[in-house]
């Protein structure tokens, strides 16, 4: 899933400081699952913003909505009837959400309430970790389905570098060295020779480096 964090209150307040009435929109997709943009977080942020505004001696009206997904226009469309009643819309979806809203409602002012971080999963409740960099050409089959592109600080295809110590990455004690894990797994499975193979230069065109990406599946296009 896409993992996000909520922006700081100061940053959000600054964005909406000129508005009196905003629509706060949550998303039932990834951001609900990572406990940052679902109905509960919408209620909480709404309340926090109102309290913060009250402290300034001004009023803020917030209406709360949570739609199925902000990355599908059909769902975004559900907001159309109400959208003009507000000075601005604050989106609690990943970076996709505010953009879909902006495209659907070109005359409305749309703001993001979240910082979108990475593709990952929860390793325990409250801790999410990155697993995929979305590079467009998956190579993890070379590495026992462990991705050095996303999980090595240097994206090494031939690791581990000399900074690997006690299974940790040189950049932090809190970061596992994925190469250490790859090597150990290969050793356990007695397939270390896989790591004697030279890997070709990676073609980064499929990643963001190749410009904004699209996925077109002809058979689905009507």
């Amino acid at each position: 899933m896409i993992v996000a964090d909520r922006k700081s209150l100061d940053e959000i307040q600054e964005m909406i400081k000129d508005y009196k009435k905003i629509l706060l929109v949550g998303c039932k997709g990834c951001v609900t699952v990572c406990n940052v943009g679902g109905m509960k977080e919408v209620q909480v942020l709404s309340s926090i913003l109102k309290i913060a505004r009250k402290k300034e001696g001004r009023e803020l009206q917030v209406e709360e909505r949570t739609i199925e997904r902000q990355c599908d226009f059909e769902y975004v469309e559900q907001l159309r009837a109400d959208c003009d009643r507000f000075d601005a819309i604050l989106s609690m979806a990943c970076g996709v959400g505010p953009q879909f809203l902006a495209e659907a409602f070109p005359s409305q002012k749309i703001y993001p309430a979240l910082d979108t971080k990475f593709f990952g999963g929860a390793v325990q409740h409250g801790i999410w970790e990155e697993r995929c960099a979305g590079c467009g050409t998956c190579v993890i089959h070379f590495y026992d389905s462990l991705c050095p592109i996303a999980r090595c600080a240097k994206s090494l295809q031939h690791g581990p570098c000399g900074g690997s110590a006690n299974g940790k990455c040189e950049i932090s004690e809190d970061v596992d060295c994925i190469w250490d894990i790859i090597v150990r797994k290969k050793m356990e499975q007695e397939r270390l020779e896989d790591l004697r193979t030279y890997r070709a230069f990676k073609d980064w065109r499929s990643a963001r480096d190749g410009g904004p990406r699209k996925s077109i599946r002809e058979e689905l296009v009507q």
Partner: protein, 67 residues
């Protein structure tokens, strides 16, 4: 804030411990300011952060979660 400021304080108390403790304070005839109002919850785990925020929105000056 002036001398006569009377804060309103909501206390969410776990039924099993803090609420019982508040009862005990009564049996022992301890004295505390009357501004504290206790709301019984089955467990402090039931105290949603939203309640705290809404209470402040409504005008609470302080919130006490005890369990």
């Amino acid at each position: 804030m002036n001398e006569t400021f009377e804060p309103q304080i909501v206390a969410y108390c776990c039924n099993y411990c803090a609420y019982a403790a508040a009862d005990l304070a009564g049996s022992m005839r301890l004295s505390y300011p009357s501004n504290v109002k206790v709301i019984q919850v089955p467990c402090t785990g039931r105290v949603d952060i939203l309640y705290l925020l809404r209470a402040i929105e409504d005008g609470a000056d302080g919130i006490y979660v005890a369990g």
